[in-house]
Every structure is written in C-alpha cells, then in structure tokens.
C-alpha cells in the first residue's frame, strides 16, 4: 500500500459539509473598522510601531516620480529605483532617475503597486504576475508602495481571494524585523528596513 493510501485509509470519514464549513465563518471576531473613515484608519495602523511605515499622498500618477524623488532625497538615497514592468508605472516620466527592472542583491529602493490596503492591520496585499515580480520587494532596503485610495478595504477578508489566484499572494504588514538577539528589535533583518506608502487619490 502506498503511503498516501495508508494515511488516507486511517483518515476515512464523512465528506465535509460545505454549510458546516461556512457556518464557522459567520460574524468572525475581528477588530472593528469604521468604513466612513477607512483611509484614516488605514493610515493610523500604518503608523503603529509594529508596522512603522511612512506615507505620502499624490493626486495623480503624474505626481508619482516627484513624490518618490522627495522620499529618496529625504533618506539620503540616490535617484535609483527598481521599477517593475507594469505599464501604469513605466508610463510615468522618470526623468532624472536611474531605473532597472530587476533588483540587484544590494538594491536600495523598489516600487510596487499593492492590490489592496487593509485598514484592520495596515497590511498591503500584493499578487505576483508577469508585471509584478516578487523578489525585489524583499531585497530592497526601501520598499515603496503605491496604493490607490479606492483599494483600501476594511478587513483581511476583503483581500482578492476569489477568482483565479496568482502564484503568490503576499501580505506585507511592516518591515523585515527581528527580536532574535536578546529580544532587542532590529529593523532590516533580511529585507526592507523602510516601508513608504504613497496613496493615490485619483
């Protein structure tokens, strides 16, 4: 008997009842979010010490390069950016920037578009795809994220969970941190040390 058959033979039982599985999800306990002030709630969670992200607001995509230049200058970084091949980003005027579309091992800054922002936790939801590589967002020191205000949602259940799924969904709720040496918190353990969110109003 194969290992599979042997294990499954010992686990034989009734098939799960979908209604029973669904009933386990009715009115889940979760932090309350006021939908009337979604953006403010999201920004408040972003600023919590556990998430520790900064933010900026732009009125349109045309303002994005200026906002990023402002951020990088404030951080003492050169205008060098890893830019994914997303037409919404490549269409911007990046004059003055040095761009590349794959990240170097010591990449300073990367820009990515989040599919959702979640007010409950201050999380940013990403999906992989041909125009959305994953690795740069874990390599760069500065993780810069563009998020449309209309994509802010109250709870984690509002992440795009239905329909065809990407190879990877990843939820970012802060920077790469560790408390592994004597409990002391250090930012930038492996990946980003800084998270900067740019909200797009339009």
């Amino acid at each position: 008997m194969s290992a599979r058959d042997a294990i499954l033979a010992r686990l034989k039982g009734p098939s799960p009842d979908q209604a029973e599985a669904d009933a386990l999800l009715v009115a889940p306990e979760r932090p309350a979010v006021n939908e009337a002030t979604l953006e403010a709630e999201f920004l408040a969670r972003l600023a919590l010490p556990s998430v520790n992200a900064s933010h900026d607001v732009v009125g349109s995509m045309a303002d994005l390069p200026t906002a990023i230049a402002r951020y990088l200058a404030g951080q003492g970084e050169a205008l060098t950016l890893c830019l994914p091949p997303d037409p919404r980003l490549t269409a911007c005027d990046w004059g003055g920037f040095t761009l590349h579309d794959s990240a170097a091992p010591d990449e300073a800054a990367v820009l990515a578009i989040a599919r959702r922002g979640i007010a409950e936790t201050g999380s940013l939801i990403f999906e992989t795809g041909p125009t959305a590589p994953m690795l740069p967002n874990f390599l760069a020191l500065h993780h810069i994220v563009l998020l449309a205000v209309r994509d802010i949602a109250p709870h984690l259940e509002n992440a795009p969970l239905t329909g065809p799924q990407p190879r990877a969904h990843y939820w970012v709720t802060g920077v790469s941190g560790t408390t592994d040496i004597e409990g002391a918190y250090v930012r930038g353990a492996h990946g980003p040390r800084f998270l900067h969110v740019i909200l797009l109003r339009n």
Partner: protein, 464 residues
C-alpha cells in the same frame, strides 16, 4: 537520574538561562496580554478557532484529498510520508534528482521534528538556515529552545563570538544591530544562490492548494523565491478549508505568539512559477507528513492536532520559565512539547517529562485553540501508571499513602506528627532543606505547615 531530571537540574543551576528565558517569555506574555485586551471577544474567537480545527480533523482525509487535487492542478507535486524517515527520504531524493548542492531553509518545526537538518548533512547537501535565530543555532550546532524564538537562550556576547568566528565579514561594533547586519550580509548571497528553498507550512489551504508561511524577517520569501525548487514539508494537520478560515487562524496566531495583529510577511504560494512570471521556482514539491498524527487522532490526542505552534503555552508556563526549552529534550518544549514528545519519542523515556507540570491550567487558558493540555498530560500519566512505567518507589509510596488515606483514624494522627516534624525543620515560615525530599528543596524553599491540621481547625471552628 533520567535525562529530563539531569537537564532540568543543569538548567536550574544556570542563572544566565533564567534571565534569558524570563526576558523573552515575559515580554511575549505582556505583549499578548495587550493584544488580547484590544481584541473584541477573544474568548469567542478561541472557540471559533478550536471549532475550525475540530471540523478539519473530523474530515481530515477529505480535506487532504481536496488540497492535493488543487495543489496538483496548480502545478505542484504532492508526496505523502507515513514517518519521519519516509519524509526525509522523499526530500533527499528530490534534492538528488535536481542535482541540488545547497538548500536555503526557512524555519520549520516540522523539519526539526523529522530530522531534516541531519538527513541533509548525511546526504552531503549544504544547508543554510535563514531565520536569524535558526542561523545562530546552526552556527552553535545546537537545537532550538523555543518554537518562536529558537535562540532565546543565547546572550549577545555568545552571538557576537559566533559571528566573529564564522562570518566572512563580521560586525565591528558590539551592538545587536551590527550583529544582525552581519547575518544579513552573510545570508543574503547564500539565499540568492541556493538550489533549493525549503519551508514548512503554517497553513495548507484545501480549496486552492496554497501553502501559507508567516515570518517577521521576510526570510521565507528570500529563501523560497530565488531557488529553482521549493520543497514544503508540512504536517497533515495544517489544513484549513479556505482562505477566510486561514485568516481567522492568522489573527489568533500572531496575537498569541508575539502580540502583533499580523506577522510582517504572510505569503500564500500556489504552485510553481507561471508562464510569464519573472521570478519563483520552476518546481514546487509538497510533502504531507503523518509521523504519528493519525495515531494521535485515533488514540485520544485529536485535540492536540489543533495546535498552531504559537508558543503561548510555553511563554505562560511556570516550569518552562524556570528551565527553558532544552531541558524538555524533544523537538517541542513547554506544555505542548510535554504532550507531543511521548508521541514522537515514546512514553517510557519521557516518563518524568509528563510529570514536569504543576497542572495550574495557565497553558490551557491562553491556548488560542483551547487545547486541554493539562487533561492530555494527565492522560499520559494514567497511561504511564497503567503500563507500569512509574518506578517501584513511587508506586509503593502512593500505595502506602492510599492505604493510610482511606483510614481516617490512622491518617489524622500520622499527618499531625508529620506536620509537627516539618514545623521543627522550618524557620521564618519556610523549610530550606527537607530530609528524604531533597529534590523539592534544592532549588526552592517549602512553606512551613500551619500549626494545626485542617481537620483540627475545622473541628475547633464548629465547636459552639
């Protein structure tokens, strides 16, 4: 003396260990408390989490088949292993077939449980642990002492010395930030150049075939995206029906483990790289591991399969906080370890481990999936008694006590005499050394008994 008793003795005599354990567990306890107070109805949420896990365990076979079908549809290969050895053999065979020379591993307790580090070493495959604590443990050639903070027993000076001895370009400044930076430099190239990335799974999503990992360091993603192969080893109990079920469990896991609302990086991997994707592995293998779990389900330990490995039970355990994790001797320390280790390593060699518990119930109170840990431990104690594993002296002593205790006319004078003798041994309310019971008083004092027995006081109080 047995292994556990020796290890506990050594741990109790180590003042640095006590400070280290207290610092980490105490901080975790405080942070969890704040997070739970801020959460609406955590008690109801615990009941829901337990119900989700019970539902899955009742239908485990069907959910595993559903997961398998969806993972295969997404392009992953699914393997099944009855035992730790089978699981390791599958992993090694995949590595060999891929011609893999190096593996980047993201912390997985299941990997420790099945002895994967050892199996890789035997096969001559290089392994780099990428979680900072696991990296420290690997350099020190030690075992994890906690399931969330595996290097909690190491001081900064010890870590500094290790990094200076083993890193190619170690830190110059004696700060924790500089040490972390040294590990970042050391590990980054190794992660980017590994042939295989290995992880466990915090959750397996039945209706999509996705594998979920959570980390605060982002080391899972850096270990699993660049290599050409991703191998997951996961316990079969890690299944949840769907993403919304996983979301509930994630809320419970993060708050119970570190007091956070969510871990910094939560990733769901569904199969290997797709057409057009710019990164990700070419192949994804998922090894579903039983290793005693079906037996637990059949033999009265099904509730233990609810465990989501949050570590709250050990952070709140008075015994763990005295002796740390290594004294437990198995892969899993603390109360959950005391229940699991006899399953994994046998009851006879762990007979004294199941007694290392005051049954104060704190672990059960904080467990996010309401596992009745003290009841399960008592079940092991019963089994140990029934199977004749308790030492003759213990059986004789208890037999004598039972004989006297069922004869009140004898019990009362005997306890009165014992109390008087004990009062003579005590000073200022405490007994520092008790003949024939040195084990009790070696590391702590015993309270001096009251002047009169309960029955004497009771009779006096009833007298008009």
């Amino acid at each position: 003396m047995s292994g556990f008793t020796d290890r506990a003795e050594a741990a109790l005599a180590d003042p640095i260990l006590k400070i280290a354990v207290e610092r980490t567990a105490g901080t975790a306890e405080a942070k969890r408390g704040i997070a739970i107070d801020a959460f609406p109805d955590f008690e109801a949420a615990r009941s829901r989490a337990a119900a989700i896990k019970d539902h899955v365990i009742a239908h485990l076979g069907a959910y595993l088949e559903q997961f398998e079908a969806n993972a295969i549809a997404a392009g992953a290969k699914v393997h099944w292993a009855r035992t730790a050895d089978e699981a390791c053999a599958i992993v090694i065979a995949i590595c060999k077939a891929e011609g893999a020379k190096s593996v980047a591993r993201s912390k997985s307790m299941l990997g420790e449980e099945i002895g994967l580090p050892h199996a890789l070493a035997e096969a001559g495959i290089g392994r780099v642990e990428t979680d900072l604590a696991e990296h420290i443990i690997q350099l020190a050639d030690e075992r994890p002492s906690h399931i969330i903070w595996p290097a909690m027993h190491k001081t900064r000076d010890q870590v500094s010395a290790l990094f200076k001895a083993k890193h190619r370009s170690p830190h110059q400044e004696e700060t924790i930030a500089a040490m972390a930076e040294s590990a970042r430099r050391e590990l980054r190239t190794q992660m980017l150049n590994a042939d295989v990335g290995m992880s466990g799974a915090n959750f397996l999503i039945a209706d999509s075939g996705a594998v979920c990992t959570v980390t605060n360091e982002g080391n899972a993603e850096l270990s699993l995206v660049p290599p050409r192969v991703h191998i997951v080893t996961a316990g079969i109990e890690k299944i949840v029906p769907s993403m919304p079920h996983a979301i509930h469990m994630l809320r419970m896991l993060a708050r119970s483990a570190t007091g956070a609302a969510l871990t910094q990086y939560t990733t769901f991997y569904t199969g290997p790289k797709r057409a057009g994707d710019r990164d990700g592995p070419d192949a994804m293998h998922i090894v579903l591991v039983d290793n005693g779990r079906t037996k637990m389900r059949e033999e009265g330990l099904a509730e233990m399969l609810r465990c989501i490995r949050c570590g709250a039970c050990m952070n709140h355990c008075v015994v763990f906080r005295q002796i740390g994790g290594h004294a437990y001797g198995g892969t899993y320390p603390g109360p959950m370890g005391a229940v699991l280790t006899p399953v994994l390593d046998g009851l006879a060699p762990n007979r004294d481990l199941i007694h290392a518990c005051t049954l104060n119930g704190k672990c059960q109170e904080v467990c996010p999936v309401r596992i009745p840990l003290p009841t399960l431990l008592k079940g092991w104690r019963d089994k140990s008694w029934r199977e004749g594993l308790e030492p003759t002296s213990m059986r004789a002593g208890l037999g004598l006590w039972a004989w006297i205790a069922t004869r009140p006319s004898l019990y009362r004078p005997v306890t009165t005499i014992a109390m008087r003798v004990m009062r003579l041994l005590g000073k200022k309310g405490w007994i520092a050394s008790l003949p024939l019971a040195g084990g009790w008083t070696r590391h702590r004092d015993m309270p001096r008994p009251a002047a009169q027995t309960f029955m004497t006081q009771y009779k006096k109080a009833r007298r008009p």
